[in-house]
Symmetry: D2
Subunit: 404 residues, 4 copies
């Protein structure tokens, strides 16, 4: 009897996740991966949905689990996936978010400007690939869509990838928002491959509808919830203020070297030194920074930090039309007077913005339905689906945030 | 139509939690309560159960929800609970863990020696009571069991309190360990009151059995899981080493004032200054500290911190008998040689200990079963229950932890 | 301490249902209500979804449970509902389906033509009201919408009534079709009353969307699933054949008096005798009848019955356009030849039909959204909802069923 | 790409069940298997737990699903199971209950005396094997434990078989009794094979404990619930009375041939004719019979039948000691007077009995724990488990049933 090292991990969403290959163990045990344990998946959503504190590490494991299921289903239908491809695509999904910094999307362009998390993910994968003597070669090919079976890449990144399936399932689970629950198991059973491209069987149409509607609801009800936006913008404004104060080389603004680096020095060149700093960053640095800055002499900075810690956030409003310039000016003036700050700092206390969401975009990548007779249709062209006008249109909402 | 401020909070465990009283709002918005958002309920259990990252704030809200249910059920059975008592007992359960420090039980006696979290809870409640002009008077009476209806205190702290019901339900939910699931809703429906004491109706016996068995299983499978113990002991050893290094007044060991205070100065007197420091502490301080100390020149400290961050924990073993002295000595010698440390520091790398658990203790407080004919029996005396010999006995397990 | 008779019933969907009023006990213990135990809620859906075997009795209890929740929520918001109104509206929901016959909707107009189940429900309520000395007077007023608080009637029968909320929740639960899950608890928390009419709070819009989308999906995926339709039509055809054979007063077609009555004699007059027969009917009569008729000398009848019992159903196809006359003729001819039957009987073996569904109909009763500023909008007029074109349009699908 | 016929079935308990082999399709489509659709798994438990109306067909499919999981897990650990063995063991579990008659255990020895359901299962398998040209040869070998890999039989019938895992999971799910929930997925992951015998890995001990405790609770709380027992005994008494009346060859007692056969003629010889009658029987025959007999001139029979239909059951009491003879006599006398029946018929209205349950029996088949060092221990010998005295002892409870 061949004995393989084998581990099962409890997951509240799927029950059990099985790890049964040495490369998967190596990835999970790597410090790059363990760092994800200290980064929350949903950033500030926990200020509205207090259960939503799960980590990016668990999301990565969950997406890996769905990939295991997807590979099994596709093989059961006769799709050829070699043992090497299997491990590569599983490794790729484990690593797809490895380049996320603290509080993920909420801080992405503020903390590390000019470099996307996908670029950093790729750099980190390459570095791990060196550590692992090239075992990630195929993983990187698939991740960068340079492999001759595009469906493997589509499983990682596409309209119906296991990344989305996991984050919708997981975020709705932990936040307790049942509106976001999708039938991931049914969708997986409906996937198929034609000409090396991912398709959905005809009878899976309603599950796809459900998936797109759930995704839309999670955006408006959770990810773009006005209080969540308000909290994330407050964190953003804090970091912007810190970055501004760094220009006066005030020592008191410093916290720890990696954070000092990205807030004071980083110019957009992700070289080895920058990458090393990146790998040392996690959510705790931001929270500790905010706690320290809440005692900083700059009144704007300490005000924002104290408010953040005590969850006394900006009041926010959301509407379908942009806010009138006059109305905004009035609110700015009010903030200046109330808090005794200078007009040039008023934008820290009052500002407007726009949130957008498109449920289904045909341009980039479409969801293709494979009919029994072999024809293929984009889901937006199927009769009587919900996906037509409404779900394909981009929806814009305008918000104003105001400290009171 | 009377309009009351009313808020519902999504909770993945119970669905929705309703807040509908001004005092409850005041408590939840208080910085003392918001601090619990930054303290994880299950400390290092997340290193084994990656979903178990929920916060003490959510536990407090959950226990409050169960208390709302308990009050409704008891009233529906004719138990008299006044409006004032209702708010007081709900406030008390919200505040019952307010005195927990970073990583709760894992660090309790290490970070803040000589003072229990219950004592701090009471001090913080008294301080909040001042802020709230005495609105918490009855709350404190009930919390300290100085009220003439003991069942209200028993609902907060007893063999069958809503605290335990929530943490078992919640911890099993987030860890994904189905063995810990209890029928909290059925237990609540079986509660009753006789002579102002909490009782369980006869037909609730099997639910109580299930509750005690689930609790036992959570202890051995989760709370005292050998890897969880290993991780928590590593954190403990790190703080002990820091405290030791503080004796040499080495500035480089310092991190932030509240942590420096408790690791370098605190003598056990929880005065106003100490309490202010306490209120500024949360999990992020510990993690940030460990990250900083991982670069500290002390080899023992930096070794433990690096290992902790990368989840390269002590190897541990657990057994029913104490470990032989000779065996332990041999392991200590091995550690000294492998890591080139001094013998007096070996206890940081290798040590033994004992974990105990008693599922049901009759001495302190018992679970009383009320029969239809009015007689009352301790559950351990009921025929054919599981609670007799096995669940009443204290079980000891011995562990050894070793860095390799 | 006042002791009230009190009973809790386990329900897999909601956990526990509490019965705590003598009138509710009387209704539940009445033979009219107990009869619902022998009538399945989803008729032939179990031939596709084998878990969907729950009874109408459980649906009635579930809807009653949601009514209890609705009353509590509305009162908590200041809506005045008297104790008498509370019991009346709870009684009404328990009794709303009391007039359903065997296999409910599937056989409704076939087994008991000319009389709707609502009419029978009302007759049975009146009869029970006599037995109960007028205790159901207010119940009947509310049920027939003759009470001055229309919102009580709307909770029983309207676009957002607890009947629909229960059947969607319950049918998706038992069938295992997660696409039909709705957030019933959130919807209930979003209900409110203005001018005695039921409204939904603004922030409940997404839950309503979810509800309507789920309903739509249950229709197409479950209730109108082509194999479910095929099975129900087979049962209908069997009864039609039996009714036809009754015209020849063939004794061998008879089974039990109540079924014989409705298949052989009933002319549409629901007098006391007819009602007594009705109350003696349940699913078992139909199944036993089919088992008996499977040995009947009429070849069409015995064929259909055997096929039904062995689940060798009509093959069916569904499409957006009506089937071509020529195509249908060809299939009819094929059936005649294959089974050696007479042309006039061919319609038992091959036939076409149309299934329709409108997710949201504004005409009858609308779902009104109450905004914070007091304005009211029909949900179909709210910006960016899914409910506009798509969900308001009636969708028609055409099917053909064919025995092969 | 090889195209296999493949079907997924929604199951509320496990999500989806996949059928992907021609023999499995043949079995499921066979009339013997479809008959199980008309037999409820939990007999009269639905009179207490109204959700518990699921069928034996669904249980068989569920057990099949667990078998699929078990085969995958064991193979993943290196246990060799050939493709032929896989299909055979899956077929065997699908067919393991094929010999159950109406209302399964409740009527087993009353309706078809002298022949166990296992014997009938085997006869029906042999008949199906003829229909299927010997494709079930290996299935039958495994079912009868005549195959050289006993672990395959143990998966079907043993202390830890998938039959028990499914019925505990399913019965607790449908009844809504959370006390019976087991961690079937964890148990399956803990199974292993040594020397061709089924074992459990050391770290699965707590899951086994949970399983045995859950089983014990289901017995006392559900299967042997006093009202469930009361309802089942009422059905038994009805059939006993019918059998008695058959001795007087009263035509009016007859219903349908198969039921007449087993109540009037069957002598214990399960020949072809008897088997054909058996295959025509299901729950509907019993219910229809009871409905007919409720009008029968025999006062005892019609009384019991009317009471049964209206759920006006025997009152029952349960206690740890046998009931005093004198007390029983008094109740009998009371029944004779109240209902004006003859003394020899009193046992239909009042009787006593005993219910027993042993949670864990070592004698027949034990649960073996495989330690990492290769040693094997019976779970009852493991330190500190719950299984020792309490769960191994047979518990007896005594009941009395009385019509009032």
């Amino acid at each position: 009897m061949a004995i393989t090292k084998r581990k099962i991990i409890n997951d509240p969403v799927y029950g059990f996740i099985t790890i049964n290959h040495p490369l998967i163990f190596s990835i999970i045990e790597h410090p790059f991966f363990q760092r994800l344990r200290r980064i929350q998946q949903m950033a500030m959503a926990q200020l509205v949905y207090p259960g939503a504190v799960h980590t990016r590490l668990l999301h990565a494991l969950g997406a890996y689990h769905l990939m295991c299921m997807a590979v099994n289903e596709l093989r059961d239908k006769g799709v050829v996936i070699s043992a090497e491809e299997e491990i590569a695509v599983k490794s790729a999904i484990l690593l797809h978010d490895i380049g996320h910094g603290p509080y993920s999307h909420a801080l992405e362009h503020v903390l590390i400007p000019h470099t996307s998390h996908e670029e950093i993910s790729l750099q980190l994968m390459q570095q791990m690939n060196n550590d692992l003597n090239g075992q990630l070669n195929l993983t990187i090919q698939i991740f960068t869509n340079n492999y001759h079976k595009p469906f493997l890449h589509q499983l990682i990144s596409g309209q119906l990838d296991v990344d989305r399936m996991d984050y919708l399932s997981r975020d709705s689970f932990f936040s307790g928002v049942s509106e976001g629950v999708i039938g991931y198991d049914r969708i997986l059973k409906m996937l198929t491959v034609q000409n090396n491209c991912l398709m959905v069987e005809e009878k899976g149409i309603y599950s796809i509808e459900k998936f797109l509607v759930a995704r839309r609801q999670m955006y408006w009800q959770v990810y773009l919830h006005k209080t969540v936006v308000s909290a994330e913008k407050m964190m953003v404004k804090i970091l912007e203020r810190v970055r501004e104060l760094f220009q006066y080389t005030d020592e008191s603004i410093k916290t720890v070297p990696p954070l000092d680096f990205f807030l004071g020095e980083y110019t957009g060149l992700m070289d080895d030194q920058a990458l090393a700093h990146f790998c040392a960053l996690d959510d705790a640095d931001i929270i500790s920074g905010i706690k320290k800055w809440s005692y900083h002499p700059d009144p704007v900075l300490s005000l924002l930090c104290k408010r953040f810690l005590d969850r006394k956030l900006y009041k926010s409003r959301i509407q379908a039309e942009p806010f009138e310039e006059e109305f905004v000016q009035q609110k700015l003036t009010q903030a200046i007077q109330q808090f005794g700050i200078q007009p040039k700092e008023a934008h820290y206390l009052c500002f407007t913005g726009m949130a957008t969401n498109t449920t289904y975009q045909r341009k980039d990548e479409s969801i293709n339905i494979l009919y029994k007779d072999g024809t293929v249709k984009d889901i937006a062209e199927v009769d009587n689906t919900l996906i037509q006008q409404n779900l394909s249109a981009q929806i814009k909402k305008f918000y104003i945030c105001l400290l009171t």
